[in-house]
Chain length 341, copies 2
């Protein structure tokens, strides 16, 4: 049997599951950002014709999955599994969206690393032969997250300069077996890493050590160098966390010149979002529209995507706990033709 | 290649991953129930020498995993992956427990179906060749769940007769490849099912349709009959939900004489828990101590375990939503000797 696990944390996807399609539905503010022409749908307001922000968030996730399926010319009942999660308590957005689709459903929670977690499990399901077509989606909504995790939205609390802006957006990805395109070659499942950061307004710095840990493990396990990738893309460290990661990488003599972060690609400099974007929707609305699209235009690029998550809750902060982080990584490569199975 | 997916929702585990060991740590009330002699550790009070119930819950999960590893003569760093979840917002119990172990970690949320979801994914990781040794754990704590999901614990709200008692307990299972013992042969991944029940004090009835849906799909996909199993065991329907499921099964001409529910096995009749036990810890402290243990004593039995989850949140109830349910099923069989791979 082929080797499928290498090193301490990494998997090899021999069959190279393919990202067959993706779609992103975003809020009005994201729709004014630098990727505005790449999104499939921009909400005209944060309610999206619903009577609560939570219901708007569900509709956003539902639409993103429907659009991704449509682009791959697939019907909803042709998904073997749907994997998803979000930031809301009891992941209600994903659960209620799954109710609409009626596909076999696995609910995930990895905070903002949920998309990466879902993509890895989608890759395992396909590469392992347990399915042909798996949807992976994650989303966040600024207003639902803000009132659940921070302050009542109407209170208008002043945000610190290290704080990031939770993205209103949902991204869905349809992973399928063997096609030409953006294909998954390896994955690295992250460990929970905690350097003792306690500032809930600086989650980027809390997550940076987890990103380092997973990127380092990935390179060690696969025997690759950071320079083998055209881009190494973290999920949502934001400006502050991204600087922390560059510092940490320099300390370990890892080159960081190809490093970037999804949280730096959502908003323009004039949009007053302080440290950049974050949230389960952040990498979900950036990976496809920004990076996979570039792979299609200039084939043969290699990417490493390390989705990052801060595993705190308001309650753990109140009880004096520090903020543990996690990062899950996936290596993507442009590959022509059928899989090697 | 061998067929690994059958029918619409089911998987075949050709290599039959084995439940190598399990352990259960429970609260004082569970420690007075009918399974008291089967638990590995009974807390003397609900705080477990910690300064908050939440920290007690983490300690409980940590101890259950450590004990399961010890029983299989394994060290913590010999787990290829740890999969887990719980009822608390942002699954902080599982996240903070994973911080202790430092194993590659995948956080899950399937409400009280989380153990079944974790076991299915553990089976896929092992059967697919991505690892040899996977921990799956889930837990709940009566006092943390009560104050988060219902009312302040000190308020002493009178409970309705249909309400279930959230278990204080954690169960951990170590899944490994090819050994004699309790082995996983099939799994059925559930769909989100909603019959419109809105009473958050009767979650058993809200989950019963999902249990029916998954059990029926399992039997159709595998071509088996309900009578092929010595037991069909639901996760935490409780007395009321269990009666609903029996009624629903009778309507479909499915025999229910081998049907039982983990929620009926935790507390004695004199313990005043109304409709029985529930919570992520419910099936986790019953499946091993009650059912897998019986398989060891009288080998060759076949079990179907359908872990059930109610996918609501207090917020969805406040916003007038009904309660969607989900159930994930796993078929276990006593099997001697090496796997067939």
């Amino acid at each position: 049997m082929a080797v499928k696990k290498i090193g301490g944390q990494s998997l090899v996807f021999e069959s190279r599951p393919c990202v067959a399609s993706w779609a992103a539905v975003v809020g009005p503010m994201e729709g004014e950002g630098p990727l505005k022409s790449e999104y499939d749908m921009i909400m005209k307001d944060s309610l999206f014709d619903q009577d609560s922000w939570e219901k708007a968030e569900q509709k956003m996730m539902q639409y993103s999955i429907e659009l991704a399926l449509k682009k791959a010319d697939r019907l909803p009942w042709e998904m073997d599994y749907l994997l998803g999660g979000d930031l809301l308590n009891q992941i209600i957005t994903a659960n209620f969206t799954a109710r609409v689709f009626g596909a076999p459903f696995l609910g995930l929670y990895g905070a903002c690393s949920t998309l990466a977690e879902g993509m890895i499990l989608a890759g395992i399901l396909i590469d392992g032969g347990y399915g042909d077509s798996v949807g992976a989606a994650s989303c966040s909504h600024h207003d639902t997250a803000e009132r659940q995790l921070r302050f009542p939205t109407e209170m208008g609390v002043q945000r610190s300069q290290t704080a990031q802006w939770t993205v209103t957006g949902s991204g869905a990805y349809l992973i399928r077996s063997g096609e030409t395109g953006v294909r998954m070659t390896h994955a690295t499942v992250g460990k929970v890493v905690d350097y003792g950061v306690k500032n809930a307004s600086d989650m980027g710095s809390a997550m940076a050590p987890a990103a380092l840990d997973t990127i380092r493990a990935h390179l060690e396990d696969t025997g690759r160098n950071a320079a083998d990738y055209d881009y190494i893309i973290t999920g949502d460290l934001g400006r502050r966390g991204f600087d922390s990661l560059k510092t940490l990488m320099a300390e370990e003599d890892l080159p960081a010149n190809n490093l970037t972060d999804c949280g730096l690609h959502v908003y323009g400099g004039n949009q007053d979002t302080h440290s950049g974007a974050s949230g389960c929707g952040c990498s979900a609305i950036v990976m496809g529209p920004r990076f996979f699209k570039e792979m299609r235009r200039w084939p043969r690029k290699k990417l490493l995507f390390a989705g990052t998550g801060a595993l705190l809750s308001p309650l753990t902060s109140f009880q004096g706990e520090s903020i543990p982080g996690i990062a899950h990584a996936i290596a993507f490569e442009w590959t022509e033709g059928e899989n090697s199975k």
